[in-house]
Amino acid sequence: MNTMIRYPLAAAVLAVGVGFNVLAGPLPGQVDFGKFTPPGDGGQFVEVQVNSNLLSLAAQVVEKQQPDAAKLLRSVQLVHVNVVGLTDGNRAELEKRVRQIRHDLDAQGWDHNVSVQGKDGQDVGIYTKTRGGEALAGLAITVIQPREQVVLINIVGDIRPEQVAALGDKLDIKPLKDVGAALKDASPKEKAPKESAPEN
């Protein structure tokens, strides 16, 4: 009798589990940038996708030497980077696509924290998705460098701005410190009204 109950129950649990797995969408802070076609004529194309398996492995490797870096790596679930060189053939389409991504992020409730319009036409947008009151579930950065390339970065996880800043301080890496500071400003606790600052 026990067996008669146990097997169907196990099958039901398995089916529900599989069902949830199938229904489970992307991670909360994940952005689907879509698939990019490499530009012809030897244009630049970079695609990096590092998932939690590899990040956790990297954390294990640096654990003894850099515990702070390991902690930060453990809090990240996915790093996705796309760099596509702009050519006459793809410029209009790619710029339109990046603007569409920004529009979608705004529509999906992401916070648009930083917007920089550079002198040379560089257009940077930094978006964050918060998790609770202290952490970020996702960070999305979009960059259009008109005569060069578009860059799209998505970092997903449970990112604590103070961790990023502390690591930047410890390793004395200024860009990391700046990102940490920017994230701190963007975090919900200390968030100021959104600023769109043209670069002088």
């Binding site: 076609t37 030897g42 244009g43 970079v46 695609e47 492995l57 294990q60 640096v62 004395d172």
Partner: protein, 204 residues
């Protein structure tokens, strides 16, 4: 009715068994040695799958320049042999990190039109994802193409596998390696210039 008599079991005399063993041992050793030596000139299964996918993808007839493979036994023997030799700490860390490795170099025959890098990358992706690998990095710049693959599941720090493809417009290099990156990373992190290099990389 009488039961049929059981035929007596004929046993080979122990001396004859020893003789057979003595005769077969050198033959077996030769076969093992032959297979071992032959395997040193063939890519491992992962790199072979990548090579196969790329070869079948286009109309390009790649010319093999070299294919070398060092399995656990070979690398272990080299490591054991070099343990008595005074080595540069970096070289020793690298040796401790690698468990097995294979490399294949293929050349584009002169006059052959340049293959499409996007097609090559697609073919490599199909071949590797079919074997349960994931592409971590893909770079195309000018004539260069670089792709790095790692297994999608069962990634372990003690036995990390990776496959790398590099094409520079003339030659294609396929590398597969398995190892434990910990000694190499520990060595790199201990280097005095590491912070400067990390800063330099971050600024790029």
């Amino acid at each position: 009715m009488n039961p049929s008599p059981v035929p007596p079991v004929r046993r080979l005399p122990a001396r004859r068994l020893w003789l057979w063993a003595l005769l077969l041992t050198p033959v077996l050793l030769l076969v093992v040695l032959g297979v071992g030596v032959a395997s040193c000139f063939h890519l491992g299964s992962d790199a072979w799958a990548l090579r196969d996918g790329l070869m079948k993808s286009g109309s390009v007839e790649w010319r093999q320049k070299i294919a070398l493979n060092a399995n656990y036994l070979t690398v272990g023997t080299v490591r054991a042999g070099l343990s008595f030799v005074k080595l540069d700490p970096g070289a020793r860390a690298a040796l401790q990190s690698v468990r097995s490795a294979g490399v294949g170099v293929y050349q584009l025959p002169s006059g052959t039109p340049q293959p499409d890098r996007a097609t090559m990358l697609d073919a490599a992706d199909s071949a590797m994802t079919g074997c349960g690998w994931e592409r971590v990095v893909g770079v195309m710049d000018g004539k260069d193409l670089v792709a790095i693959y790692v297994p999608g599941k069962n990634v372990s720090v003690h036995s990390l596998k990776c496959c790398v493809m590099v094409f520079n417009g003339k030659e294609m290099v396929l590398v597969s390696a398995r190892g434990n990156p910990e000694p190499l990373v520990t060595y790199a992190l201990k280097q005095p210039g590491f912070r400067d290099q990390a800063r330099w990389l971050a600024q790029r």
